[in-house]
């Protein structure tokens, strides 16, 4: 029995696909057949949108979190550190930013991770690339952007997030701020003897996938339903040109202002999505809304307070400043393109 554990994901995937491709017809059936609302009215279409989108986004979330959970079982912080050791500045920045996406990370582990990287001689700039990318390019954020605004928005979010992490880390590396790390950091001598790998079997990896789903989906589903409800209220209600008009009229300082508001705020990626959909509903340009979102989940006051333990004020402010400028730049760029 136990050896057939790997069969379950395959069966579940089959059910998943079957459900996913029938979502629209089920939503239509509920709205037109069961509740029998008049077609084309705002309320009807809003309800149709909601009944279709909620299971769609939740299904996407479950599948992708499961896959991410399995992928992450291959990337431990120890392996990531090993991969980054001895890399030159630019290559290191690129690798650290990408590894930041796939390595399991929680903001409460930021300090041990920072210390572990610095202790093994990874340059400061490379470490920062990791610390910027890890929270900002978050799988939940990416799935939600994909589900609610389409794959282009999601792809642009990932790409610009990477660019910010790479360039901000590179700049911090060039500024040679090593002496602005608290001096006790360099005195740490870690015992690396405990670093033998845990033996992980395929069953354990699949279990890691289930665990990730339970933990993350359990935490964020309510935010997602709220976010889609807001989106549904706006659906079919805001005229197409309304957004375009506001984008054209948008004032130049909307991006820096929203980023400055977003930086001290903290929310997880799922919590910010309802707010982003409200902003977009109100006609805020996508670039401004995305920049706000990056500022909220990428930088936060609690994180800065934690990092202050290991960074002197000047380095901390440089870090915040460089990342903030990067996000503002991305917001402008995005607004200019769209």
């Amino acid at each position: 029995m136990k050896s057939f554990k790997w069969l379950w994901p395959i069966i579940l995937l089959g059910l998943w696909i079957l459900t996913y491709i029938n979502l629209q017809s089920v939503a239509d059936w509920i709205v037109d057949g069961v509740i029998q609302l008049p077609k084309g009215q705002h309320l009807t279409e809003a309800l149709r949108f909601f009944i279709f989108e909620v299971p769609k986004v939740l299904l996407l979330l479950v599948l992708i979190i499961f896959v991410v959970g399995i992928i992450r079982s291959f990337f431990t912080p120890e392996r990531t550190r090993k991969a980054l050791e001895g890399k030159s500045l630019f290559t290191g920045n690129v690798m650290a930013s990408m590894l930041g996406i796939v390595t399991p990370f929680c903001s409460c582990s930021a300090i041990p991770l920072f210390l572990g990287f610095v202790e093994s001689g990874i340059p400061l700039g490379v470490t920062f690339s990791f610390l910027i990318a890890a929270p900002m390019i978050n799988e939940v954020a990416v799935i939600l952007l994909f589900g609610m605004f389409g794959w282009k928005v999601a792809a642009i979010y990932v790409a610009t997030g990477l660019v910010i992490a790479i360039s901000a880390g590179w700049v911090i590396g060039k500024l040679k701020l090593e002496k602005h790390v608290e001096s006790w950091v360099y005195e740490i001598k870690a015992d690396h003897s405990s670093e033998e790998e845990e033996k992980i079997h395929l069953d354990d990896r699949i279990q890691a996938g289930y665990n990730a789903v339970r933990e993350i989906v359990g935490k964020v589903w309510l935010y997602i339903v709220a976010g889609i409800a807001v989106g549904a209220a706006a659906h079919g209600y805001v005229p197409e040109s309304f957004m375009a008009n506001l984008m054209g009229k948008s004032t130049w300082y909307s991006v820096p202002l929203s980023v400055l508001i977003g930086v001290p705020l903290y929310s997880n990626a799922a919590g910010i999505i309802p707010i982003v959909s409200v902003l977009i509903e109100k006609g805020v340009p996508l670039g401004t809304a995305l920049a706000f979102m990056m500022a909220v989940i990428g930088l936060s006051l609690p994180e800065m307070i934690i990092l202050r333990k290991v960074l002197k004020m000047r380095l901390l402010l440089t870090f915040v400043g460089v990342v903030t400028i990067g996000i503002i730049f991305v917001g402008f760029l995005f607004n200019a393109i769209y």
Binding site: G116, H192, S194, E195
Partner: protein, 77 residues
Amino acid sequence: MEIKVLGPGCAKCNTLVKLTHDVVEQNGINATIIKVDDIMEIMKYGVMSTPALVVDEKVVLKGRIPTSEELKQLLTK
């Protein structure tokens, strides 16, 4: 035996402390449980993701919360 739970005081670390207490109690394991939240102390074990579990000065688990069944196996082997 001496069990140390390493973690700078995040929610997950507190969960692991509580779980460890429960498992030790339920299985009548003779152990003292120490919560280590000093970051210098934590780093000495070479741990980069918290919470981590140290049994008799050996790191047996890091970066995640085990099921109570898994924890029981770790503590009774």
